[in-house]
Amino acid sequence: MQETSVKFLPCGDTALVVEFGDRIDRGLSDRVLGLDARIRAAGLPGVIESVPTFRSLMVHYDPVRTHAQALMTAIRTLLSGELDAGRSRRLWRVPVCYDGDLAPDLADVAERTGLTTDRVVALHSATRYHVYMIGFLPGFPYMGDLAPELELPRRSDPRTRVPPGSVSIATTMTAVYPVESPGGWHLVGTTPIKLFDPALSPPALLAPGDAVEFERIDRAAFARIQADCERGTYRVQHRDLAA
């Protein structure tokens, strides 16, 4: 049986971090998500919510109802046995238009990576990505891992306004900006679908642990799907994957 060694880091008296490692790694992510699923299922008294990140799980708690020592003991028990991603994963097909002004940095990415724009698009849309975590903005999914040929540092001149739906890449990750925001990632395409809607529960389309594939669409399809989304008649394709 695999030994799961973790570090507990204190975050004041309302949260603690269960740290599995210090790097971005699928194996670490699966263990983080596995513990997250176990904590959610266990319904530990005083636990408010848990937040998975690349390599650690933050557990928020109410110090009037529980305390760190009791929580660490309970979590150690939940860590016993092999930890895997635990939940049934969903595979989403996200339509992306990589054309013209909907892909403002595509030519620049091609130049910097020494690839043609078609090759950049082919590589970006050929990978099945893993949603490591959601953060930075409501509904902003950090997805990896990018094809190594596409790895670039963040832009040296971040934009003050990135339009919602922008599909972006930086380092080993790809993401979609769910709302307008400042941002330093390279914008290689745009999706017509909405990734975040506070009127829905859960508010984000994607959850940590989900899988995502991008499907290249043309401008006509982009306009059609956008109109369907506004009418509320578009359903993003997805299916369950075996856990």
């Binding site: 008296d13 309302t14 690349f54 930075f136």
Partner: protein, 344 residues
Amino acid sequence: MSAALAVVAAGLHTTVQDRGRFGYQAFGVPVSGALDVESLEIANRLAGNDPDLPAVEILHLGPTLRVEADSVRVAVAAGSAEIEVQGEPPASLGGWRSALLRRGQVFRVHRLGASVCCYLAVEGGFAVEPVLGSASTYVRGGFGGFRGRALAAGDALPLAQTNAAERSELALIPPNETRGDRLIRVVLGPQRDHFTEAAVQALLSAEFLVSKDADRMGLRLEGPRLGHRGGWDIVSDGIATGAIQVPGSGQAILLLADHQTTGGYPKIATVISADLPLVGRRKPGDRIRFAAVEVAEAEKLRREARAALDATIASMAPPRPRGGLDLDRLHETNLISGVVFDQL
């Protein structure tokens, strides 16, 4: 006719907040909620409410509001904030108390003084649709509270009740203002080991100044440069409210209610929950000193703070006449007969 408070002047940043939006941080949704949850709870209790009801959070400068309901019971808590009813002359009703106002009366919340924030609660609460289980406004995300934004002149903030209940008013003895310069207690970590020993010593011995760069997301602090050990970026992890993160500049940022759920800067320490209301009250130009405690001590201090708040709430009583006069009766008399009286 629907009951509302009409916004005559909005103040600087006036938003609807409750205790926060929990359960959605895994989707990147910040908790938001009141910067000073203790004063929010007191304002709600003075108004006769459950502590979970939304109230109006006022930052820096209070709004002017007009009552568009048969009657409404209002209460203000935190700092030296007072309710002043327009008239000739205006009538100050004080703070840390409830008061009954009637249709057409115009009042403002002013003299915030030592605290950057205060809370205006109304009996029955405000009638705003909860978003993801909370009425808190998250302005950057454009959702929650009143249309996802700060109040503006011309808005009509809907009230859940059209009439105030028949009962006497409630008041508290204002808590001691000297708490404004109390030491703020922190637990070191989660990334203490990303900082030099000198940085930890500086955090716990130096005086920090709250810079002008201060809002509901956090307070940028001016003070000694806090040096990192082995780089200033980490693989993003979760953030707790009260975390003190230190980017490459070495200048600390104390994260408050609207902070992002995750981030890639190391966090040298985290303010304990018992002291979060105290930092929520700090404003640009205020000074902060930190002291370290262990987690178990922080948990004990939180339970003591809860007990102290319960005792404060239990001490609510009908307001004593000020200067030997019954302010409420005088105020009513003034409204009815036009008798002029000096501010008491």
